[in-house]
Amino acid sequence: MTFSTHHQRKTLYRCGFVQLATLAVVAIAMVSQPVRAGGGTIVVKGVTIHVGNGEVIDNGVVVIRDGRIAQVGANLAIPPGAKVIELSGGSLTPGLIDANAALEPTNRMMVDRRNARQVVADLFHGDHKDHKHEAVGCCGSKCSRQLQHASGEKCKQCGFPDTLPMAVGVRRSAMTVEHSSEVIPQTHVIDSVNLRSPDFDRLVGGGVTTVFVAPDSAAVISSQGAIVRTAGPLNARIVRETDAVMAAMGTDPSWRGFGNRQPCRQFVNFYNRRPTTRMGVAWVFRKAMYDTERFEKGAVVYGADAPTEPAMKELRHVLSGEIPLRIQARMQHDILAALRLADEFGLKFTLIEATEAHRCLDELKKAKTPVVYGPVYIDAPGMRRYSSEVDHARLHTLKELLRAGIPTALTANELRDEDGLARQAMYARRFGVSLADVTRCVTETPAKLLGIADEVGTVTSGKRADLVLWNGEPFDGSSKPIVVIAGGEIVVDRRKG
């Protein structure tokens, strides 16, 4: 990729990440222990192969050797000594790619959202940790209790105050959003990605083998994302440590449309204000870019809204196109604002979420802006359902985007339950997108958008063997990934259960 030099340059400390991984041994498998294929050959036969680019091979055979796809075709001869996987009525797709996975980057939050908080409590006061905090285990739904806790209510059992540096409701963003500034491209989301998180197990269990870990959208110009694999040895998990700076339009940077407040739920005042309106958000974005341009030219940049120097050092690369830009926007006018701002600074970007993309197809097409669309909803999860951002959500948006010829990937984003991205694909099918198109939206297209299409994204010989074997038609309500192969190794095997 074009910006590889850039990455090499900045991995001063985090190259340790790779070091760590070389030492670490993987023991992560949610459903079954990974079966090490060694250098052996695996053959998947008798399945319908959905190549990912729209092609379908009936009664197909895939030969996997040394972690790569060696051969693909119908009725191929099976090499002797190969481990054969056969599943009648099954089908095969490339490993799914989520181009905008918002991971909750703590270690085991999927089970217990209290974790980080517990740990903190533990350090201060061990006994406290195990007391059951009614309010602590929740998120979003018990706001009043949270407020009480944030305001210093004590634990009933041990009297330990529940006020910690971090209030409950903002835990997620406390990990991934730096609130000290609105422009933080110098921060890296990879710092808060826990590769051992059960999240990854769940992703791979749902057939997702590669994700772009998206920064949170609560800052106007947020962190840099990362591309990671969901399975395989830890030392080979990180595809790209930093990739693309994420910006956001609309209400997210002003605290999800709820007016701006500090992480501890203090309301903003004159002294700590951040953008409270869409205008403000656009202004911060514009000013950051403008200041960077001026800084480049040697001008002194100052003032309350000026980006910090480390930030500008990164933005420089965004302006030059060296670091890709993503802009998250949901509503029509936010999308249009993003297009306008990009045009103003000559930026190319990828549009993220794009809930109302069906209302500005022409503009997107004209600007040749690719889209990472999703999740599909008509009623948003969490806080957003109370904002007006979802009023124009439609179920056919993906269909329209594809019809307009806009390169579009599908993402599950934060909606991650039993089947995550596969479920999104299921929705898309229900709402009128063909199986071939849907498959492309979760495999080939995201691979292309992320610039990793020469490695993954289709079932093509020579590519990395990231494959998902379904016990029926993919993205059907009654089928699920039965076998997931990542890098030529079977990482999920549900054939017995």
Partner: protein, 481 residues
């Protein structure tokens, strides 16, 4: 506030128009659904066959059914007809799902059913023809439930079966104290016994008074003598339903939220004589008590949350259990519930069944779990839940296999009346971009109301602020668990 009001008005108006119109149209006496695949649930599938409806009942089902000359023939070739799905436990059609008191056996959901709720419209759209409207789990003894169908503008019109069961909950929801919960049960039933004794005494005294005689025996004797003098109408409002319950004249839906509550639920029911009419409503973790559930041998209604995650206390590894699979493997007949959150998938009962199949439950068991099993649990299995001759014609015609998520509900018949037709579902079309909203474009841009109303309407159950908080509290309840 104004805006909300207007939205609500529009929603109600639209909803009423949408729901009521088909319901009021007088149906043809005879309807033949011809040429579709029939999934009768009870019995083998019929690849191509006909269902004949006569006066709201299923007259005949089969491959070669003779269609009367005066029947209205509807060609459903390439489609699938199945029994209407049954929501075995729902509080979503009620204005507020829980009463503020612990023991309220005198209440009836009849008074809480809000026919204008969009939930009913959605239920219809999702192929649900019977809803067991029942109070929420946050009670000790809730009120009477009833089975309703999602059409009609009054609770009376909607009712299929009144006084189905009494709601009981052995899991503490209100506080967090199961001891207090069970103590309340004890006190309630003790008090019932005392009430019955006193009533008998009083009846005896009254009977003497009528005969103008004087009391001859002491209170204990009087209580015995008066026992047979009590007539059903003598019970007061507070106790009437409890008496019925303990005499097996009412069903009981007993909620057990955690594994440890299952035994408590069973013994409560046994102790007070309603075990034979008990249906267990089980929370997610109850699958751990599968032995106890199995030995209870009562119908089971499962929570809509089908996946249970557990963390190994040492390694931290997470194991997932697909709950219905445990029941299916143990041979327990269960009913599935749709999720009350607005997930695009889990709110469909047929999707819940598809999940079961995906996770290794047999297709037959999965289909039964959304049709005949809930019907049997509700004691209406003789009328609903399958396509059999003589049963009520509650039918769903789907565009494809019900377990295929891309299948749509095309037609819904309730009592032989065509209650829903996808081709006429304006809101659905709007969401799918197939039809422009009826409200003029400029108007909505100015006010932001028109289209918003249309959209919001389609969102299940988000028609008012109340509903939102309701759902939020429900989430909180689940969290607690």
């Amino acid at each position: 506030m104004n805006r909300r009001l207007s939205i609500q008005t529009i929603i109600i108006a639209l909803g009423a128009a949408f729901v009521v119109a088909p319901a009021l149209a007088s149906p043809p006496a005879k309807i033949a659904l011809k040429g579709g695949r029939i999934i009768p649930v009870v019995g083998e599938d019929i690849p191509v066959g006909t269902v004949l409806i006569e006066h709201g009942k299923i007259k005949a089902v089969g491959k070669d059914v003779e269609i009367p000359y005066d029947a209205m023939v509807i060609d459903i070739s390439g489609k699938v007809v199945m029994p209407g799905m049954i929501d075995a436990h729902s509080s979503r059609g009620l204005d507020i799902r829980n009463e503020n008191l612990d023991v309220t056996p005198f209440l009836d959901v009849y008074d809480a059913i809000d026919p204008s709720k969009l939930y009913f419209e959605d239920a219809l759209r999702d192929g649900v023809t019977s809803i067991h409207a029942i109070v929420g789990n946050n009670c000790v003894i809730g009120g009477l439930s009833r089975v309703i169908h999602p059409i009609g503008i009054t609770p009376d019109e909607m009712t299929q079966q009144p006084s189905v069961s009494l709601k009981l909950s052995v899991s503490p929801q209100r506080g967090s104290d199961r001891m207090a919960q069970l103590a309340t049960f004890r006190e309630t039933f003790r008090e019932l016994g005392e009430y019955l004794e006193n009533l008998a005494e009083k009846k005896y005294e009254e009977s003497l008074e009528k005969k103008d005689e004087k009391i001859k025996v002491g209170p204990d004797e009087a209580k015995k003598l008066g026992k047979d003098l009590i007539k059903p109408e003598d019970y007061d409002d507070k106790h009437r339903n409890l008496v019925k319950l303990t005499r097996g004249q009412l069903g009981a839906f007993v909620y057990a939220g955690r594994a440890g509550d299952v035994a408590a639920a069973a013994s409560l029911a046994k102790e007070h004589g309603f075990f034979k009419r008990t249906t267990l409503v089980l929370g997610a973790s109850c699958y751990k008590a599968i032995d106890e559930v199995k030995s209870a041998n009562r119908p089971v209604v499962l929570d809509s949350k089908l996946l249970y995650r557990e963390e190994n206390p040492i390694t931290g590894k997470i194991t997932e259990t697909f709950i219905p699979r445990v029941y299916a493997d143990a041979g327990v007949a269960f009913s599935l519930l749709p999720s009350s959150n607005t997930s695009l998938a889990e709110r469909y009962l047929n999707y819940q069944a598809a999940r079961c199949v995906r996770n290794g439950v047999s297709r037959q068991a999965a289909l039964e779990a959304i049709t005949i099993n809930p019907a049997r649990a509700l004691g209406i299995g003789d009328r609903f839940g399958s396509i059999e001759t003589g049963k009520t014609a509650n039918l769903v015609v789907m565009s494809g296999d019900p377990l295929d998520f891309s299948s749509w509900v095309d037609l819904v018949y309730i009592n032989g009346i065509r209650a829903y037709e996808r081709d006429d579902d304006i809101r659905l079309k709007q969401l799918l971009g197939e039809e422009k909203p009826e409200v003029a474009e400029p108007a909505k841009d100015e006010k932001g109301n028109g289209e918003a109303a249309g959209d919001k309407a389609a969102k299940a159950d988000t028609d008012s602020a109340e509903d939102k908080s309701e759902e939020t509290s429900e989430k909180a309840e689940k969290k607690k668990e």
